[in-house]
Symmetry: C2
Subunit: 721 residues, 2 copies
């Protein structure tokens, strides 16, 4: 081929490039497009002319491949791997034991880094200017590599680097509520990633990209099955499939976990009991666990939802949660596996206040659990509402490692259709002060083990990942996966800081656009609270599917209704959880109890959570409760329209595919926000008897219209036949 | 930016291109990669320097966009649209009414082309060498554009073009068995494309790409809901969603159809009856149809599965299928909509032979149906088996347009895991001679209306499309969508010809590779028959899910068992459908009846379909039936291993992503072929009492092992809770 022909080819091919590759969101925050600033690009290419990963292991190969992919994308081609350092600009990744890095005093630099921490710094090697990524273990090297690539993605300076990063929490884990038939309970981004039918032989390339994305955040565990568990996953046919997934995840530092169905010995092997104190049952679990470890030598352990929403558990045999957890923990102990036992329990008995149940049930177990048991506690005491006060168990079980369970999937926050950045929700909880050991006893310090000196610590996120091309359905739902992972690594990061880096990696480094998107993200969760459940309202969504508003839901089990939670009547609205009511406030430590329990001191965002408040009660603003309620619902809708306007200004600043995707979803969100507002206002008005304040647009339909709407195929639930 | 910097940018970006775009199969056969042969590329760029699409309409815009996308990909950039012809090399697409094309005598060239046919030829316009794509209507122009792009994709010569193409069949339609909760009955490529929850506001870009792919084949209809119908889709909330889909499909010449649940007046509006002769019922349907046309002015009509497998129908009210079909047809008639009434009926009564049921039921209706009713007949009389003789209804209802129903999704052919090219199956049926009007009365001529002078004609394919990234699960399952569409347009095409063009468009034009892949495709269906159901065996798959072998299935309704169909006993095996048995053979025209009914003349591929044959019966090869059965099962497995070896030789010849994908799936296929072979041989051996012939590998496990295997989560069925 002649040279001119080649050049023609080159130019032709390049120009047709953009037309052919739509920005569909598949690449998440690991896009690795060419650095857009030519000055920065030149600087980077000077600093990183080659890369060298010392040593060999599957994890180091993953690090090497990521560097290849990342650098060839971000800096273009011509950044080859090298094995020697004979010029400036070699990026070196390795461990203190690597000869190349022997003179760098790494042992000292990494003395607090553990297996997963890492450092990144400029130095000279063989008298050549180099950048070094170092860690005590391979997984730390991989994490450091992702961190380094992020520096390029976010246009950071590569001179004077002095990064040192250590995770604050040990188990950083996703919980997939995925069923073996690929439906996902409370999943809104298509169906399960795990194609169980074709496993173990067909390995979808997405499994590896899933692992890469997690590793880039430091997520080191994945529970691949639903907490509403299916015992079949413990049979050889499925363990072989699970092992295949584990094989893909392993190089990325991700251990696989399963949910254990408590009565599996009965369902799989015809036992007449699953009593945890029955020696035969314990023997069955020991044998089963040993079998699992034959398939998956680094199996992580079990998550258990027991005696809750119909799941079997030790209480079926008059045993305690502690009996159940300890029995499984004993089977896992020799293999260094753990049990994550969920505190989200409620059984067929309706309590006086659901809020109090987990605390009442679990606090007495403190100090009775084996060392490899964590109690997994949801951020709030009800169930992943748009806003909840922190769970009273945090700080209340000092002898037990409590792990956090956040929900990343938006079961109660508009599914995958609403633009809601959850880092502000996560942070609100983590930064809450339990006062367990005086001021500063934040939830974060309970969770990370520092408050009570636990070495085992964990944070779980209920995954929002499905088989949608962009993983999470909403382009901005990716930010929730991202921020969960970042906060699990370092809960001291600010929500804004996380948003900033995510936007830069995911969309653009252009400052104006970054700021505009960030303003939307930072406001988004409060906006959703405002059009759904302002002023401490909670659990007023549609029954079953949890889609849309259902403040009128009543009948059947009281604590599954809305009226149980909002308690609206002619006098006022809200759940009295003070001493005059259920006294759930009494489960908090005294300074917190005093704050929540006092009508005056209670933050207004939690007002109706803790108090039944008269319609005419004057809020700090001077408005009556009714008027404030109306104003807040209306402002929620107005703010969605502000989101729309702000987004529309970004046309042309980001790729058209994702621009249009978000734009269309905002249309849905606006409609649904209006649906929430109108439904709630009209319904609560039947109690307050007061008019909608002047100047506010009147609902399009009467209440009966909204009450009659049905959504039989809202996603995220088990299909009904 | 300086020039050198720009060039660096250019080279860098181009080189990083390949690393970033994995060949994931999303682009189907419309890949439009740069023509790989530089000589051809230069020739093409000479012939096509600009393009011009005359006129304006949404369909012409689609044609324009496709030319832009296709030409900028295939020929690289620099092929702009133009509005004048002042140089050689303008590609012009338009209609006879366009002034530009006035002197070309198009009316004559297009006199038999109808609305959808087109011509492509070289000519001079304004004394300049041009290529013209012309059609009587916009949809024909669009089809011609796709044809033209295919010429480039398959490296055809662009001089001396004289293409003239007219569809032989009028309704070319996909049937999606998709439910409103996104599960797909008998779907094996993930879940439904249609995201009903987010419609109408969120329009997934896949909808358009789906329409493009169909238009490229000339598919002009899509039934978006399951034949096991849900009346909800007829309610306003869903019609609004359907209308949004219709809006995406419309420019691509695709009309939308729905499945009509026969008792919808009862389910939606509280009627006490759905009797088709009840005037109130007829009025309800008329009003409903009028309502649908308000949402979708070009709505195509209904598909109905009535009184079959539990679906409601006219027989519930002692009315006939004709009564039901005519009632709906009357409602649709003013709007030019049609009814496709399925002949696949069986109700709660077990017939003496399922094979005979559709014929017995439907033949008497011939001549009683309204003009806008088609009877939709499956290719064979049982149910989409790996091999069936053609359906005896073909040719038996000369006064009625019969349309073909093929199954593209591989319900009985290994799901989306097995490499099976179905064009050979489709052709085997289409080319079968019914002898209805003497020799040459092929099924194809029944279907296309030419045998009995029908103007309405149709071919339906049960879609194999899901939300898997590559649409169909198996990269080669795309070829089945493709070949269905191609045969619906022109059933005279040879399977090999279709494979050839599909391979060139989908993989490569490299001759050796094309031939190698083609040899696999052409052999693949026979291979599958051999390891599943050789010699006319049928319906011996696992119960319910239809996954894997189940020759032992018995109990429950007889015609849902395997033993009902294979009738193995100590004497022999096979279903006697001759005059001495059920006499299903008697439903065929005499020459066919004679052939099928005679043990000697019956083609051996249908032997056990029509005859109960002794184990020691000598086949034409001289082998006993038992030995031939064994040999065929074994050769099926051996041939899968040949597929594996042949495929492995292609490493490096095609992209690694699809190479690996197919390689992994062939591993599954090999395992499952062995499973089929061992299960069937061991089971049938319990009747024949004869040894597996010398030299054949012995099954790994005893029969009991295979009988015990359970697959509770095989995909494609409704999840079980």
């Amino acid at each position: 081929m002649k040279k001119t022909l080649l050049l023609t080819f080159l130019i032709i091919a390049l120009n047709s490039w953009n037309a052919l590759r739509a920005e569909d969101g598949y690449r998440l925050w690991l896009r690795y497009d060419l650095v857009s600033d030519p000055i920065k690009l030149t600087q980077y290419r000077d600093c990183v002319r080659n890369y060298l990963v010392a040593g060999n292991s599957p994890t180091l190969s993953a690090a090497r491949e990521e560097l290849h992919l990342g650098l060839s994308g971000l800096l273009g081609s011509g950044i080859p791997e090298t094995h020697t350092i004979d010029h400036d600009g070699v990026l070196v990744a390795g461990k203190p034991t690597d000869a190349l890095l022997a003179n760098l005093n790494l042992a000292d630099k990494l003395k607090d880094a553990g297996r997963e921490g890492y450092v990144i710094f400029n130095t000279t090697l063989n008298k050549r200017k180099s950048i070094v990524i170092a860690a005590n273990d391979d997984s730390g090297v991989l994490y450091g590599v992702f961190h380094f690539l992020k520096l390029l993605q976010t246009h950071q300076d590569l001179t004077g680097l002095s990064v040192s990063s250590v995770p604050k929490i040990k188990i950083r884990i996703l919980n997939h509520w995925d069923n073996l038939d690929r439906t996902v309970e409370r999943g809104y981004a298509g169906f399960s990633l795990w194609d169980w039918h074709k496993l173990p032989d067909y390995i979808d390339p997405r499994y590896r990209d899933y692992a890469r994305a997690n590793a880039s955040l430091g997520i080191n565990g994945s529970v691949v099955t639903n907490v509403n568990a299916n015992a079949l996953v413990l049979t050889p046919a499925y363990l072989e499939k699970v092992a295949a997934l584990a094989g893909v995840f392993r190089p990325y530092g991700i251990r696989i976990y399963l949910t254990a169905r408590f009565n599996a010995p009965m369902e799989l092997d015809g036992f007449s009991t699953a009593d945890p104190l029955d020696p035969e049952v314990a023997k069955w679990w020991t044998a089963k666990v040993n079998e699992i470890y034959k398939y998956i030598p680094d199996f992580g352990g079990f998550v258990v939802k027991a005696n809750s929403e119909g799941q079997p558990g030790p209480q079926n045999y008059n045993r305690t949660h502690a009996d159940g957890a300890n029995m499984l923990a004993a089977a896992l102990e020799p293999h260094h596996g753990i049990v994550m036992w969920r505190a989200f329990v409620y059984d067929d008995k309706v309590p006086d206040d659901r809020h109090k149940q987990a605390y009442t049930e679990f606090k007495p177990y403190d100090g009775t659990l084996k060392e490899n048991v964590l109690i997994q506690v949801k951020n709030g005491a009800i169930d992943f509402q748009p806003r909840e006060p922190f769970h009273p168990l945090f700080g209340a079980m000092p002898k037990t490692p409590l792990m956090m369970e956040f929900q990343i999937t938006q079961e109660y926050l508009g599914f995958a259709s609403h633009f809601v950045y959850l880092a502000t929700l996560f942070k609100e909880c983590l930064d809450s002060d339990t006062h367990a050991k005086g001021p500063g006893s934040t939830v974060a310090r309970v969770i990370d083990g520092s408050l009570d000196n636990h070495t085992l610590s964990g944070m779980a996120g209920v995954a929002n990942i499905g088989n949608d091309r962009n993983w999470c359905g909403h382009p901005f739902a990716q930010a929730n996966w991202y921020s969960f992972g970042r906060l699990a690594w370092n809960h001291e990061l600010a929500a804004e800081e996380i948003a900033d880096e995510w936007i830069r990696m995911t969309f653009t480094n252009e400052k104006g656009t970054v700021e505009q998107i960030k303003s939307m993200m930072m406001a988004s969760r409060e906006i959703t609270v405002n059009y759904m459940t302002p002023l401490g309202l909670h659990h007023i969504m549609g029954r079953g599917h949890h889609y849309g508003p259902g403040p009128w839901v009543k009948g059947g089990r009281p604590d599954w209704t809305s009226v149980y939670y909002h308690r609206a009547d002619s006098v006022g609205i809200g759940f009295d959880r003070t001493a005059s009511g259920s006294n759930a406030a009494g489960q908090y430590f005294p300074p917190v109890e005093k704050m929540f329990g006092s009508l005056e001191q209670c933050p207004e965002k939690y007002l109706l959570w803790f108090h039944h408040v008269p319609w005419d009660y004057k809020l700090k603003s001077g408005k009556t409760l009714w008027n404030a309620l109306c104003d807040t619902y209306y402002s929620g809708v107005d703010s969605v329209r502000w989101l729309q306007r702000t987004w529309n200004k970004l046309e042309g600043k980001i790729d058209p595919e994702r621009f249009n995707h978000v734009k269309m979803l905002l249309t849905i969100q606006e409609k649904e926000a209006v649906l929430w507002r109108n439904s709630c206002i009209l319904y609560f008005q039947t109690f307050s008897g007061k008019p909608i304040p002047e100047g506010l647009e009147k609902p399009e339909h009467p209440l009966a219209y909204y009450e009659k709407l049905a959504f039989p195929y809202a996603p995220g639930i088990r299909p009904r036949w």
